[in-house]
Symmetry: C2
Subunit: 284 residues, 2 copies
């Protein structure tokens, strides 16, 4: 069974997504940052890494995209993807009333995804505090979080997190229903290349010369080869202000002649180009 | 003199950018969220609003983009932009040694922008805590932040923030040099439409039917009319997973015939399309 490194403390959504994919018998290692997950795979201390890449409400996970820009020569490929439905829970001590909650702790993405619920259901003067993970938020409801401060046990405080984390500390967890589709897509990182499946996806990273029509010209080969683009994302180059890298996901495998042709054409327009991986499309 | 609403508490970068544009004699109102800034302009309680839209290291400010998606019928236009160089300071009590710092507080973007400096210059075991603004971070160095906890005065703690905020509390501020170009672009929001300047920019928002070549076809009119696109950004629709809205900045004014023609063509491909504003390009 493989060793799988994932972003987070335990009981986060990334942990649950990794378990859903690799099963209970694999060995799991949690890593505190996206960078650490990549490094564990690069040093072959883990066979696979699992990191979030995109949420259907909040958009791209920029840390993950930027790791590919900052380390263009990493041997790590994208070898798969996982789609995972996110269900948030409002977690409190068992005796706390909703109407008395004064503060809510959670990861910024979780707070953002529950913004409407929090604004309509909790007292007007409630304060929101950001934590590094949803697990850290649950810690805030149980114990002190910050080693530099002396704190008293918390009252009238809630966290947004996963049910599993609440159960561990015997806290109350109440599902926060949201009418919108809340899914996160995770990347599986590895050193190998997976065999082509029935439906594949290829992720690429590139930069273009700054001239009129540059992006249009770069997309032309995909149109010509009838290749569907499922996603385009831009990120700052960090070398020069207002200069960008692009991430594109396209339907098909790198080894298909039409994909090969299109990528060769794109290379002519690009100052940088890298295939991040071809991998099976997640089952939806 | 106009009344200007800006995102933030006082002494944040948004406040400084607003002052650099509107001068010391304007009236300033600070608003706690991007949403509040829009609302102050919508209700005509402020003549202008100032919100961040993009940082040269960290990328798009997604709250601002999403406000345009969530309220497509807002009467608010983009009437200008401000470019502002960001200088971060490490702020501590006067007697704290760098080698003894145990925790650093700041806004997630400021922490991200100083990630390399923090990793190489501060003790290995230093902990990072996210705050809602750089001003809140400076508060953390001086007073308790969290009303639900009883805290003692802080030792060996630092904030990343602006010099002006440190000065107010008689704290020590040390510039954190970074070799990379760190600039933020802000939008000026208003109800009117500015007169065309010498060099103008137009921002648009649109959604496309999900079909092969959709984005390519949408960009064709701009290529045909020789209109340069300075920026493209995608954001989740939030209605359906993996469905996107696009934001494009293009060179030229809405009233120029070639821009008019291109926008008319784009409209044929789009399920949603809105011009967010035509405005003078910021002087660099």
């Amino acid at each position: 069974m493989p060793t799988v490194a994932y972003l987070g403390p335990e009981h986060t959504n990334t942990h649950m997504a990794a378990q859903a994919k690799f099963g209970r018998r694999s060995t799991y290692m949690h890593a505190p940052t996206v960078d650490d997950v990549f490094e564990l795979v690069e040093r072959e201390q883990a066979d696979y890494g699992v990191v979030p890449i995109e949420n259907s409400l909040e958009g791209a996970v920029t840390h993950t995209l930027d790791r590919f820009i900052d380390f263009k020569h990493t041997p790590v490929n994208i070898v798969g993807e996982i789609e995972f439905r996110i269900q948030h829970y409002l977690i409190t001590q068992p005796n706390v009333k909703i109407s008395e909650i004064q503060a809510v702790y959670s990861h910024p993405q979780a707070l953002a995804q529950c913004r409407k619920w929090l604004a309509t259901r909790l007292p007007k003067q409630v304060r929101l505090f950001e934590t590094n993970s949803t697990s850290d938020a649950v810690d805030a409801v149980t114990v002190r979080v910050d080693p530099t401060r002396v704190t008293q046990p918390l009252k009238n405080v809630a966290a947004i997190g996963r049910k599993e984390a609440a159960r561990k500390f015997r806290l109350r967890a109440m599902p926060i229903q949201d009418e919108r589709e809340n899914k996160t897509r995770f990347l599986i990182l590895g050193l190998g290349e997976p065999r082509p499946a029935k439906r594949n996806k290829t992720s690429i990273l590139f930069a273009l010369k700054d001239r009129p029509g540059a992006l249009y010209n770069a997309l032309a080969p995909f149109k010509r080869e009838h290749i569907n683009l499922t996603k385009i994302e831009s990120r700052p180059s960090k070398r020069k202000a207002w200069e960008y890298y692009f991430f594109i996901d396209l339907e098909g495998h790198e080894s298909e002649p039409r994909v090969e042709r299109a990528l060769k054409q794109l290379e002519k327009h690009a100052t940088v180009m890298k295939v991040l991986g071809s991998y099976p499309v997640a089952i939806r």
